[in-house]
Each structure stands twice: as structure tokens, then as C-alpha cells.
Amino acid sequence: MDLNYTADELAFRDTVRSFVRTRLPHEIARKVLEHKRLRKDDHLRWQKILSEQGWMAPQWPKQYGGCEWNAVQQHIFEEECADAGAPRIIPFGVNMVGPVIIAFGSDWQKRHYLPRILSNEDWWCQGYSEPGAGSDLASLKTRAERRGDRYVVNGQKTWTTLAQHADMIFCLVRTASTGKKQEGISFLLIDMRSRGVTVRPIITIEGEHEVNEVWFEDVEVPAENLVGEEGRGWTYAKFLLSHERSGIAAVGASKRELRMLKYIASQEHSGGRPLIEDARVRDRIVQVEIDLMALEITNLRVLAADREGRAPGPEASILKIKGTDIQQALTELMAEAVGPYGLPHLPAAWGDHWLGERVGPEYAAPLTARYFNYRKTSIYGGSNEIQRNIIAQHILGL
């Protein structure tokens, strides 16, 4: 029993830490730490720095330009990045479609798409959910009809994160409507510039444009963009989910946010004293901190099992549920900590180039919006209720 990193892992952490500390642009880190709005360019700038270092794809095999880091190393990397205030790597290319192409894609797809993911030439988005297919994803209706050497796609995807920036979308589409509904699904790669693709913004409760509807109207997709076999898309989608677990607990980011929460609580005042000295407030902060410690160790237990070659299992669902609980609790406490200065709604104040007068402390402006926005975390990526169903079925055998 040893809860500490090995000497090799510590050396690896130092390497990552010094790289992130020296290369992460300060303006970007500041935005992340202060919850300012990130532009597409900010993401790309950081991801290009990672590309140059050869660290764009921590989990890919070396032969495709990845780092082939084990689960613990990936965790260390993510934790160091999060701690320093690096933007989260946009996962759709490198962590989602990438591993699917590596496992099931054609040689052409590997040659063509993988390097473009590594170099950030293609920004990917994920075409899974539909208006009528959320938790019941397999009931999706977007159709792809084979006509000669191409597919013709009609339908609508929704909740498509950052589709407004995307060059490519990977889609689950229906290629057959007979048999079990899972069996008629295929995995298709679609160029967002194709004729007939329309992106419409969905504005969420905090007023931001993060997700979209993506419409397909007679969109022609070359047949070579089908991944693997027709009708096997559900299998690939499940494979993808099992690879999405990296960073799912968001321990590094939550530690960073906890630090920010304590900082805010030390700046704000209540009864003439720093808020953090109010026993009722402090008790709630401490409770979240202790919950985060428990999650951190549970996460390390899962990673250690992974490193020993035990198959990734449904315990990732535990990490998702607790990870998002904690993220939400932190955003809630932060918004509460600024008291009445949680009220002003000045979206421009958390974007670039805001020259207007601030209202309240600088850190206060985005906090309530962030609290609103983070309600999404227990819904996306398989809602926390779906995660409980997965655990009930696969771990508990109910």
C-alpha cells in the first residue's frame, strides 16, 4: 500500500510542470483562473503549443504520433495543466474520434485524419444527441442512405458543443431501420463545410453560446468516411465512451477551483470579518474539500488498476457522478460567496477587451453565470441518472 507517486512518476510530473509553467501563455491562464470567456484562438494557441511538444495526444500509441502515456501519467499531465490554468483540451478529436479511428478506421482515415487532429487543423465536434434521442441514444433518427460511393444524410443533431468552431463532426447515423435499434447505427465522419449542413446556436440559461443544433439536409458524404463496418456504429460508440474516462473526475480542475473559492472567501467580508472565518461558510467549504480528497484517492485507485492492465470498467461512472457533484458544489459556493455581487449580469465583462467599469470585485462577474452553466455537468456525457443505471446493471447486477 503506497499512496505516493513513484520516483519516475514524480520526475515525469516535474517535467510536465516546468513545461506548463514556462509555455502556457499567461493571458490564457489568467482567463481560465478568473473564469473569463475563452475564444477559439485561445484553445488553438495552447493546443498548438502542445502539438509542438508532441504532447497533443497523451493516450494514443506512439506510431500515430501519441505519447502512449499510461493512465497515471495522463492523470498527472491533466492535473498539472489544470493546476496552472491551461484550457481543457477540446476532447472531441483527440480523446473521442481519434481512438475510434485508431481502433476501427481505414488506413486512409488514419493517414488523413490523425495527423490533422495532432496539428489542430481539424476541430471536431460530436454528433450524438438528437431532439428525440438523449439518454435513449440508440433511438436516433438521423438517416444516412447509401447511394453509390456516397451517403446522403438527413436529420438533426443537438447539444453539439462548439460546433460553431468545428471543421468536422463524427456522427451516429441510422443506416437501417430493421432489427434491433442498436444494430442499424453507423459511425460517419462529416465535413462541416458540406452543402446542406446548418449550425444554429442554442443559447443556454447563463446567456452563452456553447452548444448548437446541427441540421443535415441531403448532405453528401463520401463512403470512405464510414468508420469500420456499416451497422457497427453502436459498438464503436461504446468503445469511445470507455475511452472518454480520462479526466472524467476533473480532480485537478476542482482543486484549482477550490483554491479560488478559498481565495474569494478570504477577500469577501461578512460581519466585518473575512467570510472564510464564518464557521457556517467554512464548514461547507471544508466538506467539499474532504469530498474532493475522497474522490482524488478513488480516482487514483481506478488509475492504478488501469495501469496494472485491469480493463477499464463501469467505475468510471462513479468518478463522473462524484466529479460533477463536486464541480457543481464549487460553482455554487463561489457564486454564493460574492453575495449581492452575484447579481450583476454583464456578459461583456468576462470577455476580451472589456474596458468598461467593473461592478464589484473582478472575480465576481462570471461566477453566477458559471454556476448556471455548470448545471450541465450532471446532464452531459450520460446524465448522472444514466450513470447510476450503468452501475446498477454492470457492477451491482440488478
Binding site: M1, D2, L3, N4, Y5, T6, E9, H26, A29, R30, L33, E34, V72, G85, R256, R259, M260, K262, Y263, A265, S266, I276, A279, R282, D283, V286, Q287, E289, I290, D291, M293, A294, L295, I297, T298, L300, R301, L303, A304, A305, E315, I318, I321, K322, E385, R388, N389, I391, A392, I395, L396, G397, L398
Partner: protein
């Protein structure tokens, strides 16, 4: 990083589980609780011959020389079997007090007797007005004619009635709530002036209210350094907390298995009730609490031996708070999911629930430990944003 038990630890786990499965069934436990002393000398002898009583005792004194994780292995198994014998006060609390603070002679004489099962101890610290405060000690010890004379009252002394020797905290100087001025003593309960009133606790164990009225003990009865008992007491109670966390994990995992079994077999509306999503999600939340509690018990087991007191206190308090909350949740859900059966004395479910409830209020509850956690290690808040390095422009 390695979360596996060593080969030795796996053997220990296997041995203690096998022993308890065979010799400590729920029915046997009931008889033990109903017996005059409320503990079984047969079981205690069995623990001794298995080597369990020497697990944390140094090898030179007939023990196994184990650390926090080895104790965790034993305590988890004791938790699963709801063992009522005084392992915690004897092996963990007294064993630690003597190992960490005892004189050479005290170690030489007493540690082997813990390991071989010939002596049982109780730890008399809590007082009526102290709740769980470690520093608040009103019981006094004064020197008189070369002896120490102890006066005061100790409350809820776990297993006080069966102890061959008590460890008593007493104030030798300072104000009643000062950490400085506390000293630990051995007191023989048969000594003139020691009076005890034994009673059952709701978890099937026993405790006692013990009063000391001009109790005279020899200078050799003092443990550690005069007036400086607090750090020792703090470290010993942390050992106790780590052990309790492991015991709670054993209780929780037993409850979760029992509940799962019940969900799969109990039929209503023509199907096993485990088919119902409302119940499935409760069972899942139980599992999550069990796993997270195990993580915290591991943290406690590893950090309890840490030389850094602040780090140790932080980890142990975090674990105690978390385990208390998790234990309450898992216990309550287990009863709810067992329905009416969960309310019966006949089923073991309620007994695990009661033990978990008792663990929560032993050595401080969550509120106390969250505050201790904060006091142990909060560095002053710094501005979390790094300032850009100043760049000087050369003008000429």
C-alpha cells in the same frame, strides 16, 4: 502508487476472516452480548493465538510490528463480523500509548501481555463536560508523598468494566482546557477509590462511568513526560480513528452486500424489487459511499503513521468526517431498502447500522473533525493568479 495489500496482509485478511466466519457468527455474537461480561474469552483467546492482538505491537515485544494498513486489515474484518471484544481500547489505544509513550519497563512488561491476550485495557479520557475535546481535562493528579493522587470522573469509558488496567488522562498543571499540563497514567481499576458503573451501549458493547476519589498510584504509573501528554493523546486517538474508519468500512461493505442480496431475492409485484430504478439508484449511491469511504480509510491507515503531525491530523480528521457521513448514509439506506425487515432486531442489518452510528460519535463527529481539519493545515490564502514577470525595456 500501489493500492494492493501485500502478500502478508492478504494472508492476515484471509486468516482473520476465516476465523470469524467459523467462530463469530451472528448467533454466537448474540450469546456473547447476553453473557455476564459481554465479551467472549474464547474469542479473545482465538484472536491471541491467531496473532491478531499483536498486529501493531513491535516484534521485540511479541507482536507483528505492523502499521496502519495491517491494523486496517484486521479492523475491517472485525467490522464485518461486528466483533464486540475490546480490540480497539486494548490493542489500538493502549498498544499505541505504550509503544509511543511508554517507558522501557512499561513496554517490556505490558506489550507482550497485550499481544498474548492476558491483559485488557480501557482508555479513560472523555469527561462529562468535555464532549470530544481532547484538551479539556478536569480530572486532576497531584503529587503527594511520592505518589500520584487522582480525582475526577471519566465518562463513557469503552469496555471499562472488563479492563485489567485503565489508561487515565489527568491534569497535572494548567487550566482545564489547556493542551499543556495533561499527563497519562495507568490505574488499576481494583485500586481503592476507583468506582465504576457499567452499562450497555446500543451497539452491543459496554461502557462505564468511572470516578476516581483520591486514588493513589505509584510514580511508575505515569506514562510519557509530565504535563506533556497531549501530543501522545492526540496521536493515540488518531490511531483509534484510523482503526474505526477501517471497522466502519467493514460494516458498510457487509451492509451493501446484504442489501444487494435482498434486492435480488425479495419479490414484489411479481419481480425482484431490485428491478425498480428508485431502489437501484439508492443501491448505487450506497456503493459510491462504500468505495469513497474505503478510499478515506486507506488514507487514514497510511497517514496515521506519518511523522508530520499536521498532515496526520488533516488526513485523519478528513477520514473521520467522511466515514461518519458515509456510514450514516449507507446504514439508513440499508434499512430503507430492507423495508420492515430492516427495522427488526432479528436481522443483522440494524446491528450494523447501530455500530456505524456509534462509530460516528466516537472520538468526535464530523463537525468537530471538519474544524480540526481546517485548523490543522490551512495555509493563508494567496492570490491564485500568477502575476506576469516584469519585463524591462531597454530604452537606449
Amino acid at each position: 502508487m500501489d493500492f494492493n495489500y501485500s502478500e502478508e496482509q492478504l494472508l492476515l485478511k484471509d486468516a482473520v476472516e476465516k476465523f470469524l466466519d467459523k467462530n463469530y457468527t451472528f448467533e454466537q455474537r448474540k450469546q456473547i452480548i447476553a453473557s455476564r461480561d459481554g465479551i467472549s474469552t474464547t474469542a479473545w483467546g482465538g484472536f491471541a493465538s491467531l496473532g491478531l492482538l499483536g498486529v501493531p505491537i513491535p516484534q521485540e515485544f511479541g507482536g507483528f510490528g505492523g502499521g496502519g494498513v495491517d491494523v486496517m486489515v484486521v479492523m475491517e474484518a472485525l467490522g464485518r463480523a461486528l466483533v464486540v471484544e475490546p480490540y480497539l481500547p486494548t490493542v489500538v489505544l493502549a498498544g499505541s500509548t505504550i509503544t509511543l509513550g511508554g517507558s522501557a519497563a512499561q513496554r517490556q512488561i505490558l506489550l507482550p501481555r497485550i499481544a498474548d491476550g492476558s491483559m485488557k485495557f480501557a482508555f479513560a479520557h472523555t469527561e462529562p463536560r468535555a464532549r470530544w475535546e481532547l484538551n479539556r481535562v478536569h480530572t486532576t493528579a497531584r503529587q503527594e508523598g511520592g505518589m500520584w493522587v487522582i480525582d475526577g470522573q471519566k465518562s463513557v469509558v469503552l469496555h471499562g468494566g472488563v479492563a485489567d488496567l485503565l489508561i487515565v488522562t489527568a491534569r497535572t498543571s494548567g487550566a482545564p482546557d489547556s493542551p499543556h499540563g495533561i499527563t497519562l497514567f495507568f490505574v488499576n481499576p481494583a485500586e481503592q477509590g476507583v468506582m465504576g458503573r457499567e452499562y450497555p451501549t446500543y451497539d452491543g458493547m459496554r461502557a462505564a462511568e468511572v470516578t476516581f476519589d483520591n486514588v493513589s498510584v505509584s510514580p511508575e504509573s505515569m506514562i510519557g513526560v509530565l504535563d506533556n501528554g497531549y501530543p501522545l493523546l492526540d496521536a493515540v486517538i488518531d490511531r483509534g480513528i484510523a482503526a474505526l474508519c477501517a471497522e466502519a468500512v467493514g460494516c458498510m461493505s457487509a451492509l451493501h452486500s446484504a442489501t444487494l442480496e435482498y434486492l435480488k431475492t425479495r419479490q414484489q409485484f411479481g419481480v425482484p424489487i431490485g428491478r425498480f430504478q428508485a431502489l437501484q439508484h439508492r443501491a448505487v449511491d450506497m456503493l459510491i459511499h462504500c468505495e469513497q469511504a474505503r478510499s478515506m480509510a486507506l488514507l487514514a491507515a497510511v497517514k496515521v503513521d506519518s511523522a508530520n503531525a499536521a498532515e496526520r491530523q488533516r488526513a485523519l480528521s478528513a477520514a473521520k468526517d467522511f466515514i461518519g457521513r458515509a456510514g450514516r448514509f449507507v446504514g439508513q439506506q440499508a434499512i430503507q431498502l430492507h423495508g420492515g425487515m430492516g427495522m427488526t432486531d432479528e436481522l443483522n442489518v440494524g446491528h450494523y447500522f447501530k455500530r456505524l452510528t456509534a462509530i460516528d460519535v466516537t472520538f468526535g463527529n464530523g463537525a468537530l473533525h471538519r474544524e480540526r481539519f481546517w485548523q490543522a493545515g490551512e495555509a493563508p490564502a494567496e492570490e491564485p493568479v500568477r502575476k506576469p514577470a516584469k519585463r524591462w525595456k531597454q530604452l537606449v
